[in-house]
Amino acid sequence: MRIELVKRPQQSALFSALSPFIALGLTLIAGAIMFSLLGKNPAEALYYYFIDPLTGLWDENNRWQLHELAVKAAPLILIAVGLSVCFLSNNWNIGAEGQFTIGAIVGSILPVMYPDLQSWIVLPLMLLMGMIGGAAYASVPAYLKARFNTNEILTSLMLVYVAQLFLDWLVRGPWRNPGGMNFPETRNFHEYAILPEILPASGRAHWGFAFALIAAVAAWFMLSRTLRGFEVKVLGQSPRAGRFAGFSASKMVFFAFIVSGALAGLAGISEVSGAIGQLRPTISPGYGFAAIIVAFLGRLNPLGIVAAGLVLALSYLGGEAAQISIGVSDKVVRAFQGMILFFVLACDTLIHYRVRFVGTPAVKAAEVSQNV
């Protein structure tokens, strides 16, 4: 006997809409099981993981936690919005983490190498250079795919490690802070190079979150209301129909990679100039990879991605809270993110396909169908 997936003739609209919520519910159940296997009280653990970071909603003293949520959600949403354009056009950019890193590096050129240039023009230039850096780095796998038909999943993923090691070398070598006592960090950014906070009185959420919302709305409009968005979807769904329509698949490869690379680069420089204030060997807890989960949890819809980005940001904050309050390892964060992605993809698969056991005799199949 073997197990087959058989495509369903039509998908349930209800379950398609419910799928992300079912996936979250299953993740909570699996999480509870995981915590009890670790010897923790699952109710308490889930409280610290998913409720405690949200107490700012009603408790003014904890409002800073909501700001932290926005700080974590901003890069996730920015990157995932770009990835949704990529994935919808059937370009599998897995290297957003690398584009994020290169965006952060290129955007940091001015405050690190020319610290004496102090003017209001510095910050806009940094953001622009960050986007250009991310876009340029993303166009490498795009060129390789369009010109040599290489697999972009492999090339974009491998370039992540190149970018991370390059950053590591920079902050330990040429860009190390001369007055930093040999710590592997660049000099602190001067005041004109800092992305300001939105509401400094109540917390440290910076304008990166606003960029994320603007990018999400703009991408939603592009995808749902313009010919360019139509082109993205046609080429992603049926490349031959796209060619028949007169759309160029290789130009689309560049468009998708450059858009997602630019947004990942913007996320990178926003994170560095808004949340960190300098370059360090590690500037991301894996935002570029978590954003893949965000993109799918948001059903590749930029507006859904805003909600999904907040959920994933919560998993980072909850991981920190649970670490402090009940003493579980920070590996739990990765485990939770993995479970969310697993359940999202599993739900989507079961909506599109049904499981069939092959090898049972025909009579049995007839009985089963009558019973159903």
Binding site: F230, R240, F244, A362, A366
Partner: protein, 523 residues
């Protein structure tokens, strides 16, 4: 009804009440069928009548929902193609399952369960192929073989397993008339050896010629058993289709040679894009205002490559290779050629002519975003959904597209209705040049007649229409002249008054394209 038709010596295969349900569709509904020993039994029906579903159940690739299959009087559960082969059922599919990069013998070896050496298989296959008059070199690469030769591999592969019942699914749909004749001889020989054949077709003449009995299916149900030799083609067609099909009206036209050439193809050559595609060799064609030119040919002789080149999905070296309304178009993209007034309908509906998961209105935008930019797109490229929906509705009404819901996804339509929409989408533009590949492939008779009539009317209103098709009946019905494509070359067009099935058939088999006169002498 079946009891009266039992043959002597008992039945090899008896099917009772076989039913297969896909979702809400009863693809096969309570089917009864008996096949006697040593008979050629026809399974007749239109596309979508349930023939393929039925034989897939007999061959074990689909499980029935209800009903029983008796083999030599015993009830059998045929759970897999392997089980079917063990019983002695062999099948030759309509779409071959061969690996292009392997030799014929290697392909045969793949389907055998034991570890017989390739050399033994090759020797056996060669002996068998010659003894049945289907010569085959077992060491030739499948990629180099013609469609007819590939079919021989499938048949030999099937015969090597010494089946008692051979199922052939539309075997002549890819053959020239001459190749088909040779196949019929083989089948008659097999019958004389006592083997049974279940012959699936919708070609009435060959069923009348070859088959002892026929079972006719319509909408998944058996509508009758008969002796095809006692029926006429039109009585069989009535059983298949259910009602009389409206005939296409084609008025003869005068003064065509003075009309302007709207589409000119000059010295078009193309190197093969993949090892298994056909090169185009120096093709010349001119289509004038008011005429329908048919391009006949066996599948896989360069029609797809020709369509890609003319439509601009692939561009030419020289801008003068393709001229549309007197302007060089060889270096233009498909959008550029559309802007010159040309329209194109590819062979594949789902995935080429239409995006399956997109709505009909979105599929309207697919081919008309360039030509109807003013109507369908606003400033900054925003899509004007209301204008597009109105135009889609107009096409749906004019072409009588039947559908569920106001604006369904393309994949939700039946093949015929989607094709009517795709053709209507282009006709709605009133194009000066229309190139259509396989306009009625897999389309039911009613929709096919509607489509053919629309193409003729377009030509009569002053456009040039080029129809690429493998259906000779269709080409003879609508064309003013017929050219034949063989091995990447295109013959000179034969005016319809001079064209006969035999002449076209010979050209399809490769009798010197470009030289029509010697063929006429042969005929």
């Amino acid at each position: 009804m079946t009891a009266t038709l039992e043959t002597e010596g008992g039945n090899l295969l008896e099917v009772r009440g076989l039913t297969k349900i896909f979702g809400t569709l009863k693809a096969c509904d309570n089917i009864d069928l008996t096949v006697g020993r040593g008979e050629i039994h026809a399974l007749l029906g239109e596309n979508g009548a349930g023939k393929s579903t039925l034989v897939k159940m007999l061959f074990g690739s689909l499980e029935p929902n209800a009903g029983e299959i008796r083999w030599n009087g015993q009830v059998e559960q045929i759970s897999s193609p392997g089980a079917a082969r063990k019983l002695g059922i062999g099948m030759v599919f309509q779409h071959f399952s061969l690996f292009d990069a392997l030799t014929a013998a290697e392909n045969i070896a793949l389907s055998l369960d034991d570890d017989t050496p390739i050399a033994t298989i090759a020797a056996k296959a060669k002996a068998l192929s010659y003894s049945y008059g289907l010569p085959l070199d077992p060491y030739s690469l499948v990629g180099d073989l013609s469609v007819g030769e590939r079919q021989r591999i499938e048949i030999i592969r099937c015969l090597l397993q010494t089946p008692q019942l051979i199922i052939l699914d539309e075997p002549t749909s890819v053959l020239t008339p001459q190749e088909a004749d040779r196949l019929f001889e083989t089948l008659e020989r097999l019958r004389s050896e006592g083997k049974s054949i279940l012959y699936i077709s919708h070609r009435l003449e060959e069923v009348k010629r070859l088959c002892d009995r026929a079972t006719v299916l319509r909408h998944g149900k058996v509508v009758g058993h008969c002796d095809p030799r006692k029926e006429t083609a039109s009585s069989l067609a009535r059983m298949m289709v259910g009602n009389e099909v409206q005939a296409v009206v084609r008025d003869p036209v005068q003064g065509m040679d003075k009309a302007a050439a709207l589409l000119e193809v000059r010295n078009l050559s193309r190197t093969p894009a993949t090892p298994f595609s056909i090169p185009l060799r120096n093709i010349n064609l001119s289509a004038r205002a008011g005429e329908v030119i048919g391009i006949a040919g066996v599948a896989g002789n360069g029609q797809g490559e020709f369509f890609e080149a003319v439509s601009g999905e692939v561009q030419q070296q020289d801008a003068a290779n393709v001229r549309i309304r007197g302007k060089d178009a060889g270096r233009l993209t498909i959008s550029g050629r559309r802007l010159l007034g040309a329209a194109f309908v590819p062979e594949e509906r789902l995935g080429h002519g239409a995006a399956p998961r997109m709505r009909l209105s979105e599929n309207l935008l697919l081919s008309r975003h360039a030509t109807d930019r003013k109507a369908f797109l606003g400033t900054a490229g925003t899509v004007q959904t209301r204008a597009i929906a109105t135009a889609a509705q107009r096409i749906i009404e004019i072409m009588d597209v039947r559908k569920s819901g106001p604006d369904p996804e393309a994949a939700a339509l039946s093949g015929g209705n989607l094709q009517k929409f795709i053709i209507g989408r282009e006709l709605d533009r009133r194009p000066a040049v229309m190139v259509v590949n396989q306009p009625t492939w897999g389309v039911d008779a009613g929709a096919a007649a509607r489509i053919r009539q629309a193409l003729i009317e377009l030509a009569r209103s002053g456009s040039a229409v080029v129809v690429i098709s493998q259906d000779l009946d269709e080409l003879f019905e609508i064309s003013d002249s017929i050219a034949v494509m063989h091995n990447g070359e295109l013959s000179k067009p034969l005016p319809i008054a001079e064209a006969t099935f035999e002449k076209v058939g010979l050209l399809m088999g490769g009798a010197e394209p470009g030289h029509v006169e010697p063929v006429a002498e042969l005929a």
